[in-house]
Amino acid sequence: MTHYFHENLGLIQQTLVYMILAISLQVVLRCGVVSLASIGFYTLGSYTAAILLKHGWPAALIIPVVVLAAGLVGYAFGRPLARLRGLYLAMATLAFDLVIPILLINGGNFTGGALGLYAIPVSVDTWALVGIVIVAVYAVSQLERGWMGRASLALRSDENLARSMGVRVTRERYLAFAISAALGGLAGSLSAMLFHAVSPSSGGFGLVTLGLTMAIIGGRDSWIGAVVGAYIVTWVPEWLRSIGPYRNAVFGVVLVLVILFFPDGLLGSVRKIAPMFRRKAASA
């Protein structure tokens, strides 16, 4: 067990970081807000953490600072973006994600240019990471309960109806933006603390598609879906390593099949099927 743990430590840490990134996307998607800004905040968070670490700040101080800053910036960002809908919001936030690496490449010594920053002191151990992930996931899971949870679902299915039922639509959107940004920043700062280096290429288009995949295939109605999605996206390609060069093609096929046959994500389908069995058991 410990042997297995040490052998796969990198992957386990990666999965945990991705879990936070996935719930950061899922929080907004669940409200029907197709924002991909998490990836941009991930990149900003990782650079901020890296620079502060190099200046000798302790990790315990950096994490709250980054989370708070990202949340505030996200809230400010939400204001002008809140009127965009659907794919247009996706485009605007994608532009935000993609412009950041270009600015970082041109940031000179401060951001390390195209190479990025490296030799960052590792400052979070895996158990602290597990703790942070649990806290973050628990916080998000609480948002899905009660009034807040129902309000965000209503927001997704019919905005006007939600408004007429007393949901403060605009405020909910700002809030979702801010929470998503804070989580994105958190995931980024953790990745800088774990993996020694940050580079402008780590947060580009590839991470956008990866994050979106994680949030969708598990099922975006619940944090469990995002957590499952992060797990799948990190580990399935690893299991497919044996088939060598065709690995990504097979992953692509798996992705398409999941979308086709599990339209509500893996978790959504489980939720649909489970009551059927229960009813059978009860009537028998």
Partner: protein, 297 residues
């Protein structure tokens, strides 16, 4: 100065040629097709394959490749996108699932070509088309391929704009984009229309792939990615569904980029597209040539 204008025009043609098909599938099918870059790459790859094994000129290679790429996109629609459209409860949900499905399809195509080319970059042989530089009275120069792309782009834009605006097919296409159910009642076969649109979009991707493979004189598995993000910017600038808008957006972006390189901070050339997206969406969310005002917000 004149040379910079000529460069902008040929770069703009590249962008517009690429963006037209993407704009079409977005406006009619609500499909933000991330596999479009892969379709384009397939066009380039097949141009290399067909051109190498079958020594004919561009006039024969081009139609063959265009048909192949159009066929693959119809196949993708039949196998995947059609089912996603049918099972989606709301448009937003089908948008998202189609987006992720297109990521999967792109991964398949890119990986297969990457494996087939062993990760190397290939080129379309000169027997297909020989690129020469033309000098225009010492004022500016352009290759013959750039000139062909410029002409093809202008002609295609005009033809497509006319078809979408005035033909029966174009009217049905615009109708289906707004309300498929009502159009069905009025006798439009929406599935066939979607397939036709996908085929046209795929054909455009194939065409762009062939011409650009020759222009850039390189073919590799990831060649579609940088153009894809630029194309999004172009569509946003022009307004979704507007053919003329895509054309203006493409040339506008090309001019902005070229003149930034010549007179401004060249390092930020690739940031321009994204900055334009952000500004346009915040200031004028419907694009410069809006078709439907209510659509974006």
């Amino acid at each position: 100065m004149l040379q910079a204008i000529a460069d902008s025009l040929s770069l703009g043609s590249v962008y517009v040629l690429f963006a037209l098909g993407l704009s079409l599938s977005w406006s009619v099918l609500n499909l933000l097709n991330l596999a479009y870059g892969a379709q384009f790459m397939l066009g380039a790859y097949f141009a290399y394959l067909v051109g190498t094994h079958w020594h004919h000129s561009l006039l024969l290679v081009l139609p063959v490749v265009v048909v192949i790429v159009a066929a693959t996109s119809v196949l993708a629609d039949n196998l995947v996108f059609r089912h996603l459209r049918r099972q989606a409860g709301t448009p937003v949900e089908s948008e998202l699932s189609m987006l992720v499905a297109s990521i999967g399809l792109a991964a398949v195509a890119v990986t297969l070509v990457q494996h087939a080319t062993a990760g190397e970059s290939e080129f379309v042989p000169q027997t297909v088309f020989k690129v020469r530089t033309l000098h225009f009275g010492g004022l500016f120069r352009m290759t013959n391929m750039q000139l062909i792309m410029l002409i093809v782009t202008v002609v295609l834009t005009v033809v497509l704009a006319v078809v979408v605006k005035w033909s029966r097919f174009g009217r049905a296409m615009r109708g289906v984009a707004v309300d498929p159910a009502t159009c069905e009642l009025l006798g439009v076969n929406s599935n066939r229309l979607f397939s036709t649109t996908i085929a046209i979009s795929g054909a455009m991707a194939g065409l762009a792939g062939v011409l650009l493979a020759i222009h850039l004189s390189t073919v590799d598995a990831n060649m579609g990615d940088p153009l894809l993000t630029k194309a999004f910017a172009i569509i946003i600038i022009g307004g979704v569904g507007s053919i003329a808008g895509a054309a203006v957006g493409g040339y506008l972006l090309a001019f902005a980029e070229t003149f930034t390189v010549v007179y401004g901070p060249a390092n930020y050339k690739d940031a321009i597209a994204f900055i334009i997206i952000l500004i346009v969406l915040l200031v004028r969310p419907t694009g410069l040539f809006a078709r439907k005002r209510w659509e974006r917000s």
